[in-house]
């Protein structure tokens, strides 16, 4: 929705991605591009294969076919050839989970420090510098705390930094998971239903946060969402999946008007005899 004069810089290109589980085709020949400094949303009915796309991107699944490439500093990284846990570091992709996965027994701050494991591990020189308390490691730890503090402030969790993460209210846990992903210093942030279970006020706050991150960090955000106020409100670009196939790809306004999309969401036969008020609701701007 933002009118930028600059040309769009591709960040992630997905080409002909296919994911099969036995006889089930979860993703079928999916291609799309996510751009730097844009928020791209993947939407679709339940079981459309949205989370499977994320799992392919972040190395939890190995795609049956197709290419996934991150474009970083002129370098092209083929994601399907990087071991799962390395994707975060090498390709700078961070993600959150549909069912929140925090380190519940550890404090909020610790969650954010664990996210910076790799730089800290390098600074601690396989724990030797750390065990000896060398200044090099201490400086790295201070830096990590500062970065954590920055994201705690941005997500409004500073005063609860020393709480166990599991004791936070639901909405704060969602925000903490996003903060944790951001602490890894990603180029692409993948959010799996970040607004699920949030009340309207929290959801609006989330929108502001994501817009601010996009503006300040210049990173790409890829998001799966059911909450249309989030999708239509902040996305630059929406990809619609149905039964693992891409049925639409465009700006929120284009996608909303797409008959294929309406058909996927409401079913084919209902479309013709849609009640007046539902049709009106569909047409109405969602924000």
């Amino acid at each position: 929705m933002t009118e930028t004069a600059e040309p769009r810089v591709p960040l992630l290109t997905v080409e002909r991605l296919t994911m099969r589980f036995g006889g089930l085709i979860a993703i079928d020949d999916l291609s799309f591009t996510a751009y730097r400094g844009e928020i791209s949303a993947i939407i679709g009915p339940n079981g459309a294969g949205k989370t499977t796309v994320f799992n392919c991107l972040t190395g939890f699944y190995r795609p049956s076919a197709g290419q996934l490439a991150m474009h970083l500093d002129g370098e092209i990284l083929p994601l399907e050839r990087i071991a799962g846990f390395r994707i975060g570091r090498r390709a700078r992709i961070a993600r959150t989970f549909q069912n929140i996965r925090l380190f519940a027994g550890m404090t909020v701050l610790e969650n954010l420090i664990v996210a910076q494991h790799n730089p800290l591990m390098a600074a601690s020189a396989f724990s030797i510098a750390g065990l000896l308390g060398l200044p090099r490691y201490r400086a790295a730890e201070r830096e990590a705390i500062e970065r954590a503090r920055h994201w705690l402030e941005r997500t409004g969790l500073t005063d609860r930094a020393d709480w166990p993460a599991g004791a936070l209210p639901y909405g704060a846990q969602r925000r903490l998971e996003i903060a944790r992903a951001l602490c890894t210093g990603p180029a692409l942030l993948c959010l799996d239903e970040p607004a699920a279970g949030l009340n309207p006020r929290e959801s609006a706050e989330l929108n502001d946060l994501l817009l601010a991150i996009r503006a300040e960090e210049g990173i790409g955000i890829l998001l799966i969402e059911h909450d249309m106020s989030v999708v239509m409100g902040i996305s630059d670009h929406v990809i619609v999946l149905d039964y693992g196939r891409k049925i639409a790809d465009g700006t929120p306004a284009e996608v909303r008007a797409d008959p294929e999309v309406i058909k996927a969401y409401l079913g084919e036969e209902e479309l013709d005899n849609l009640p007046e008020e539902v049709a009106a609701d569909l047409e109405a701007p969602q924000t």
């Binding site: 846990f85 925090l102 790799n118 591990m121």
Partner: protein, 440 residues
């Protein structure tokens, strides 16, 4: 803490006692007890001469068992209510004690160390007491070592004794074949045990929880059975004897030194006493245990330590954050095993003789019980639990038949009243806010 108790207070709507249901439940438990007790307690075989067996019945005992279980079950079902009632007024006794302990953690630690150092010189001290203290400290060290694997990394290890055995046999073999002394062999014991930790770690990388427990249990048994059957190397059931005692910076603690040497008592010009060696061994294990503790406390605050805890909490999230679960798990196994190896090396030098009999599953179970009883991940809890578990059977010697009974009852008691362990308090590895008063 305030949050948790606050919730508990809010949620408790005092239920009224439903006596029929309670009685039914207790009767059912008593019925099960009767079913079990008839063959186990009620029937006893004895020799009637000529190799034939007769059966004696003890149905009165079965009756006692049934009544005991009935009363116990009833009491158990009634007790949780009283917990909550206590919680309303304040925390109940042990919780309050634990909270006090957390507040005074530093002072208690210091007092504990001073007491441990002074123990051999206290007026009521005896050779027996120092020897018992040495045993306690071996278990404390093993507990701290296993705590890395179970408490921090959350990998349930039922075969920890294997590393203890590997450490002991490493020293035994180095001493008997290559003439290594205790101090020279100590690093090798740790190193070899750590390598075994990695060897165990590889096949179990994908396993968690129950599955991991079964494999580690098997690993522990494999090591013991290999030691038992590989007679040409390990001496089989005869074990390895004549393992040298540790020396005090090269001064042996014996009555007479070998050719041209000086003994400890000659060097310091004191009367020789066999107690000197016992006290010296005590200080060696005390120092080793303290080093283990310092190392663990320190590594917990390093990235690798936090990664262990993160792995325990959620492995999938760890992978998404770019943490390599393989290296994190293997490092936990290796470090835990290393301390087991050190403790094994000490065990070998203390006993002077090792055989596979010292490394049975019951040892693993005891060490795991110490960790779980103490409170997973709690260093202080391990000390408390080790003292309890080692000394309780000792005090029970007077009424030897009831030792296991008391032991079992104590374990059940802890599981009922403090399932999270005696001391279940996790101190964050770092804080943003000021240190709360409770941590001073």
């Amino acid at each position: 803490m305030t949050v948790a108790s606050g919730l508990a207070v809010d949620n408790v709507a005092q239920p009224s006692i439903i006596w029929p249901a309670l009685l039914k439940d207790a009767l059912l438990a008593a019925f099960v007890a009767v079913l079990l007790a008839v063959p186990l307690v009620g029937l006893q075989t004895y020799d009637i001469g000529g190799g034939a067996l007769g059966i004696r019945t003890h149905f009165d005992w079965v009756g006692f068992a049934a009544v005991g279980v009935f009363a116990g079950r009833l009491a158990l079902r009634l007790l949780p209510r009283t917990h909550r009632q206590h919680e309303r007024r304040g925390r109940w006794a042990f919780g309050r004690l634990a909270a006090w302990g957390n507040r005074r953690a530093r002072a208690i630690t210091l007092a504990g160390i001073v007491f441990a150092v002074a123990l051999p010189f206290l007026p009521f001290s005896s050779r027996y007491l120092v020897d018992l203290g040495t045993t306690v400290l071996i278990y404390v060290m093993l507990g701290w070592g296993l705590n890395v694997v179970v408490g921090l990394a959350g990998l349930l290890d039922l075969g920890y004794v294997a590393f203890y055995a590997v450490g002991a046999y490493t020293f035994g073999l180095l001493a008997s074949d290559l003439g290594f002394t205790f101090w020279k062999a100590l690093p090798f014991s740790g190193l070899v045990a750590a390598s075994f930790g990695v060897i165990l770690g590889f096949p179990v990388l994908r396993l968690r929880g129950d599955y991991l427990a079964i494999v580690t249990l098997g690993f522990g048994e494999i090591i013991r059975i290999v030691l038992l059957n590989w007679a040409p190397v390990t001496g089989g059931p005869n074990g390895i004897g004549g393992i040298p005692r540790p020396s005090f910076f090269g001064l042996p603690l014996s009555r007479s030194a070998p050719e041209g040497g000086t003994t400890f008592h000659q060097f310091f010009g004191v009367e020789f006493s066999p107690d000197q060696r016992v006290i010296f061994l005590y200080f060696v294990i005390l120092a080793m245990a303290l080093v283990t503790n310092l190392f663990t406390l320190r590594i917990r605050k390093l990235p690798v330590g936090r990664a262990w805890e993160a792995l325990r909490e959620d492995e999938i999230a760890c992978r998404a954050l770019g943490i390599n679960p393989t290296t994190v798990k293997l490092s936990a196994f290796a470090i835990g095993a290393m301390f087991g190896g050190f403790a094994g090396c000490f065990f070998a030098t203390r006993q002077g003789f090792i055989s596979p009999e010292s490394f049975t599953f019951i040892e693993s179970a005891t060490i795991l019980a110490i960790v779980v009883l103490g409170g997973m991940g709690s260093q202080m809890g391990v000390v408390l639990a080790a003292i309890l578990l080692v000394t309780l059977p000792e005090f029970g010697r007077a009424f030897a038949e009831f030792r296991m009974l008391i032991f079992g009852a104590a374990m059940i008691g802890v599981m009922v009243w403090r399932p999270q362990g005696l001391i279940a308090h996790r101190e964050p590895t770092l804080r943003l806010g000021p240190q709360p008063a409770s941590a001073r």
